[in-house]
């Protein structure tokens, strides 16, 4: 990626990843603390509003640039990359579905100025990971609403400035008739109801919380969450997560490469046996990279079409493709990290060696769980009953 010419905004993310996020990645992981330094640097570089269109004061970056930023961050601090990705997914929902809405356009202009961090509240106790179902509902009272939610996890909930929350549209609505609501820190409280002491992705700080919020009804996005999810939240989530995971894979492979080179230098003239394993893992990495870049490119070109690609974005074929990116990259990610561990041997197993792969493996394990791959496979299996792809 470094050989390819990148935009100045992507270059800023690459610099922050290397100089700010990377040096404290071990501390973030060890203490399960929020990557404050990286987020402060990204705010400074105005990257939290990178996706906001130019006419609203942002950089007008597209999916491709966002994915390159996530990939760069993922190479140095997976938690910082994931926080950045999750924030951008929320911004994308606001930009693409708040268009023409005075409240949301005003909010996005403020976002450029204030660099607010937005967290997602889609999970709910007793619903689990099924994002398209809610128990809680929006209760309208005149031009105000009340919304309480028992969330099973809110990533960087304690650090966020604003929250984007799913809920049933009204108290009488069925579980899957949902709205998306932007609530602001001045109008909500979060009560932490559990801990976040996990195997990996420790810096995302994602414990469960009880949310209590109110606000003006203009904060309820007009479109149904079903459309927002299929047109924006799912494609942005799966592609940007996959870009973070590509970054983790790239970092693991570059450690393995450095290890093999060191072995080769020790015995010039002979190819170390581990070089064969490196050749193998390099081809796997190339497949992941091609997969992520292909869908990021496709999404960007679709979304820049006059109808914003709405026809294609709402098709089953597209949903299947987006789901496939998620399940395939999240599965191969752990395999790549594991193979890199085998290449580096005991030096990969040690936590304090420059060839350590432990954190990569622990972080990689989260990928198949954040929206369970089995749940996605079940959805795909269902869609394949009617999809012809001929």
């Amino acid at each position: 990626m470094t050989q390819v010419a990148v935009s100045p905004h992507v270059a800023a993310a690459i610099r922050i990843a290397r100089e700010v996020a990377g040096p404290v990645a071990n501390a973030v992981d060890k203490d399960a603390r929020f990557p404050n330094e990286a987020l402060a640097a990204m705010k400074e570089a105005r990257l939290l509003s990178a996706f906001v269109p130019r006419e609203l004061g942002g950089f007008g970056c597209g999916m491709l640039e966002l994915s390159q930023m996530c990939e760069a961050l993922g190479q140095h601090c997976a938690s910082a990359a994931m926080v950045f990705a999750m924030h951008q997914i929320q911004v994308a929902c606001l930009v693409r579905h708040g268009k023409g809405q005075p409240f949301f356009e005003h909010y996005l202009r403020d976002l450029v100025k204030n660099q607010n961090l937005i967290a997602s509240v889609t999970s709910e106790v007793n619903v689990g990971g099924e994002m398209r179902n809610s128990i809680c509902s929006v209760e309208r009272q005149g031009d105000r609403f009340k919304l309480d939610k028992d969330a099973s996890t809110i990533s960087y909930g304690a650090q966020a400035d604003d929250l984007l929350v799913t809920a049933r549209r009204a108290p009488e609505s069925p579980a899957n008739d949902q709205s998306l609501i932007l609530v602001s820190k001045a109008e909500y409280t979060l009560e932490k109801t559990g801990s976040w002491d996990t195997l990996g992705m420790r810096g995302t700080c994602s414990p469960p919380f009880k949310l209590r919020s109110t606000g003006g009804v203009e904060r309820i996005m007009p479109e149904s969450f079903a459309d927002i999810a299929s047109h924006t939240m799912v494609p942005f989530s799966h592609i940007l997560w996959a870009a973070c995971w590509l970054g983790i894979s790239t970092s693991a492979v570059s450690r393995a490469r450095a290890f093999v080179r060191k072995q080769a230098r020790a015995k010039p003239g002979t190819t170390p046996p581990s070089a064969l394993r490196l050749a193998e893992v390099s081809s796997m990495l190339q497949m992941v990279r091609a997969n992520v870049h292909d869908v990021a490119n496709e999404c960007e070109s679709l979304m820049s079409q006059p109808d914003a690609g709405t026809e294609v974005l709402s098709s089953i074929a597209f949903a299947l493709k987006m789901n496939n990116v998620k399940v395939s990259t999240s599965t191969v990610l752990f395999d790549i990290a594991h193979r890199c561990m085998l290449i580096c041997g005991i030096m990969g197993y040690k936590n304090d060696s420059p060839f350590s792969i432990g954190m990569h493996m622990r972080n990689a394990l989260s990928a198949a769980l954040m929206v369970s791959n089995d749940r996605i496979f079940a959805t795909n299996a269902n869609m394949l009953l009617v999809l012809k792809e001929d």
Binding site: P174, D177, N382, K388
Partner: protein
């Protein structure tokens, strides 16, 4: 045809309201139709009317109301004749 569509929705749509009493232009998703259930509705429609929904028709808008389903089925059965 409307009655057949209602019967299929009743059996496979898992709606939170009675499909027999729904207005033809009522939003089925607001009536509780999930993506998963809509696939079963499609399969039942394909069986009942001996049609196959082409991929271009596999999107939310086509299944959002009884009348939009009717329009899609009519388009496909007209093509078969």
């Amino acid at each position: 045809m409307i009655e057949d569509i209602r019967a299929i929705l009743k059996e496979h749509g898992r709606l939170s309201v009675d499909a027999g009493a729904l207005a033809v232009d009522a939003d089925l998703y607001q009536a509780g139709l999930t993506s998963h259930a809509s696939v079963n509705v499609m399969l039942a429609l394909e069986g009942k009317f001996d049609i196959e929904f082409p991929d271009r028709m596999l999107k939310r808008g086509v299944f959002e109301s009884i009348s939009s389903i009717q329009a899609a089925v009519e388009e496909l059965t007209a093509g078969a004749k």
